[in-house]
Amino acid sequence: MRGKLSASQVIARLIGLAVTAVSLFPLFWMAVAGFKTKTEVLGYPFRFWPTKWILDNYQVLFQDWKFARSMLITFVGAVIFTLLGLAVNSMAAYAFARLEFPLKRLLWVYVIMTMFIPSMAILIPSYIVVAKLGMLNTMAVLILPGVAAAFAVFFFRQFYLNMSNEMEEAAFMDGANRFQIYLYLFLPLSMPPFVIIGIGSFLGYWNSFIWPIMTISNEDLFQIMQLLAYFRGERSTETGVIMAGSTLAALPTILLFLFFQRYIIQGIRITGMK
């Protein structure tokens, strides 16, 4: 430490740490409670640490396939959803940002207009549409409807508009077609917006709840949040198991965030400024 801290610095540090502790407390408590017996999770008086650390709750979770399978298929679904979304939306953004073609404005309005339609307004008719297409109880019903996202197109387009023309024209002169330019020139440079939008998509899929409970009734395809809610209904007295399950269900998103936190916190600068 260099120099002396001013009084306001000391107070700011104390408040900063206190608020951080409070906002992380529920998550830590959940994680620790996953190692407690079911009587101890809600024991009175309140104790943070277990008297004895046990792994029984995790054993119960993994004694059959259900929980692990749900984690796995939700993960696979989220990955496919994210990759498809990045491909579809960035490709469209490239076309809108860098290419000229008839009806461009009309198509742009058509795509952007959908940004202003709240998902709730079309939730039930969407359900009717996917039911009529025979998509209920498939992975496709979880993945496809949300892939195209006008917001993401808008975001990528801003990014592509700011990229320099020279390289693109040089590649074009060398005989590359526009799709190749997108694939080999623009995509490799798209990491920052890809990370921000990609993580948003992954989280959105992983944490989604209302759409899975509407469209999935086959237990083999239960998404993780759906399974967790179901667990809480079915095994409401198994408090330790519920806490362990919630911890595992929250873990992938937290790890993903921590891994990419630099990008995300910078991304907030971008969205916050405009």
Partner: protein, 286 residues
């Protein structure tokens, strides 16, 4: 250019199937008595009239608005204050705080609900333990009409706090330090700087936080679904939960879809009012 159309085909097809057709279909179905099992009957504006005259629908809108008032101002003020604190923190501690407070934002509403259901547990929950230390009696937080709304508002504020703080912080960091220095030379105090520099300069950030917060809060679903089921006596029946329950309970979807469309219009109306309120503030135009 052919390539452009090929590149746009996937997005146009997907948006058409999963957004545009449902929207058009919603408008169509809302004028019919429609079900999966029967021939649909044209009923004109009847569905809308029923929704319009349904006190339960308006009750849920009112619950949504109340939920906004429970969550948005509290989240706004806490984040605004804490952003000032974080601004003073530098180096490792600063990034530790920024990263940590954001973590709850990636946690799902379902997980948050489960944690808070346990915190509110009548016998062994932390909430009752804390108030009993202060000498109060145990409360049935989520099933008491007086506290149910507060009970679902607290996890909502918790989930959004870090994100809002970081947005506020980005806004604060955008204000050039020279503005404050100039004001200090003129002898401006803390309040003067706050009211003549910080608040006017943050207008767009405030607008963003309030509008996105309101639109998000009025559409809250996970927390009341998991924690209260909309009860007791519909005091936490948010519009989306109302619509969802109707969807589950009523085979005729015309009414449900009409109420969703009406909700959409109401939310749009509220957000346009907020844009007006913020942008008509000529007194602090720079």
């Amino acid at each position: 250019m052919k390539v452009a159309y090929l590149m746009l085909t996937p997005i146009v097809v997907l948006l058409t199937i999963f957004v545009v057709i449902p929207l058009i279909y919603a408008m169509y179905v809302s004028f019919y008595q429609w079900s999966f099992y029967k021939e649909s009957v044209f009923v004109g504006w009847q569905n809308f009239e029923r929704v319009w005259n349904d006190s339960k629908f308006w009750g849920s809108i009112w619950v949504g608005i109340k939920f906004v008032f429970y969550t948005v101002p509290a989240g706004f003020i806490l984040a605004f204050l804490f952003a000032h604190v974080v601004k003073l923190l530098q180096g490792k501690l600063g990034s530790l705080v920024k990263t940590s407070i954001y973590v709850p934002n990636v946690v799902s509403g379902v997980v948050a609900s489960i944690i808070f259901i346990f915190i509110y547990d009548y016998q062994g929950g932390l909430a009752n333990y804390l108030i009993s230390l202060l000498g109060f009696e145990h409360q049935a937080w989520t099933s008491d009409m007086r506290t149910a709304m507060l009970s679902i508002a607290i996890p909502a504020v918790w989930l959004g706090f870090g994100y809002t703080t970081l947005i506020m912080l980005a806004g604060l960091n955008d204000i050039p330090a020279s503005y404050y220095e100039a004001a200090e030379i003129d002898g401006a105090g803390w309040w003067t700087k706050m009211f003549y520099i910080t608040i006017p300069m943050m207008k767009n950030v405030f607008l963003f936080v309030v509008v996105t917060g309101t639109v998000g809060a009025i559409q809250q679903f996970d927390l009341p679904y998991m924690m209260t089921g909309g009860g007791p006596l519909n005091t936490t029946m948010t519009p989306n939960l109302f619509i969802f329950n109707h969807f589950r309970g009523d085979p005729y979807l015309g009414y449900t879809i009409a109420s969703a469309l009406l909700l959409f219009l109401i939310v749009g109306f509220i957000s346009s009012l907020m844009f007006r309120a913020f942008s008509s503030d000529k007194a602090i135009d720079s």
